[in-house]
């Protein structure tokens, strides 16, 4: 009798551990190519890591441009790839604002305000995120679509190019899922 109870308890425990959203974990889709939204996603990500959460960021579509390294160039791109490469921002410090962009005056104003108010810059937030083990995944399909290559992306610890199933597997077991 007691053996049965123990077995059942173990089975229930296993079910609890496998239920969706069971882990102290945050999964976020970073879709936007706007500076303001990237500041928000990084503040939430580093904050969550500070709260002891495992953090997964999945960069897709316009978001991927924020991960380009302005110092790196990729070779062997086709015509469309080169066009996209020229038109999309080269990295997180060239992103426009979603509102009040004013042909680039807006981002400059926000950055100077952030400095004045001692808010961590995107560079500092990425560094903190890397130190705290925030995981960055890039959507393979977005990169293919826009002709981006892994070798033009930033150096970030553990950065990986993956498909949507990888993100979903993480999202399913996360207690928080966000889309920015």
């Amino acid at each position: 009798m007691s053996v049965d109870v123990e077995k059942e308890m173990a089975a229930i425990k296993a079910q609890l551990e496998e239920r969706p959203g069971a882990k102290n974990k945050l999964s976020m889709v970073v879709f936007s190519g706007d500076l303001d939204k990237h500041i928000a996603s990084m503040i939430i990500a580093t904050g969550a890591a500070a709260m002891g959460m495992e953090v997964i960021l999945f960069y897709t579509f316009w978001g991927t441009a924020a991960l380009r390294d302005p110092k790196k160039r990729a070779k062997g791109k086709n015509f469309m790839g080169k066009m996209f490469g020229m038109m999309l921002p080269r990295g997180r410090n060239r992103l426009p604002l979603s509102q009040m962009n004013m042909a680039g005056a807006g981002p400059a104003m926000i950055k100077s305000l952030m400095k004045q108010k001692n808010v961590a810059s995107l560079d500092q937030l990425f560094e903190a995120a890397g130190m705290m083990g925030v995981k960055i995944y890039i959507c393979q399909m977005s990169m293919d679509l826009m002709g981006m290559k892994t070798e033009e992306m930033i150096d970030y610890p553990g950065l990986e190019v993956v498909g949507v199933a990888t993100f979903l597997a993480h999202a399913k077991e996360s207690s928080i899922q966000l889309f920015l």
């Binding site: 580093t46 500070a50 709260m51 002891g52 108010k117 001692n118 961590a120 903190a128 705290m132």
Partner: protein, 79 residues
């Protein structure tokens, strides 16, 4: 500063969200379990953020003292 017998004081003055909680999360492991650290901050968000951080991570905010131009937060490492 013998209150709560803080083993050290961390100066987070001038830092804005999310840096105070980012820093404390990295520092808390450097003191012993049961010991208290005193944090100095000027970020008003920390008054609600430190208790929220402590609740989630299992540590304890012993006391928050608001003085002119300075917020002092005493945090006990619980595990």
């Amino acid at each position: 500063m013998a209150e709560h017998e803080a083993v050290k004081t961390l100066d987070y003055k001038g830092l804005a969200c999310p840096m105070p909680v980012v820093r404390i999360s990295q520092e808390i492991g450097k003191i012993g379990v049961g010991e208290v650290v005193e944090v100095h901050t000027t970020d008003p968000g920390s008054i609600s953020d430190f208790p929220a951080w402590a609740k989630t991570t299992g540590h304890e905010v012993v006391e928050i003292k608001q003085e002119a131009g300075l917020i002092r937060i005493f945090v006990r490492r619980k595990k």
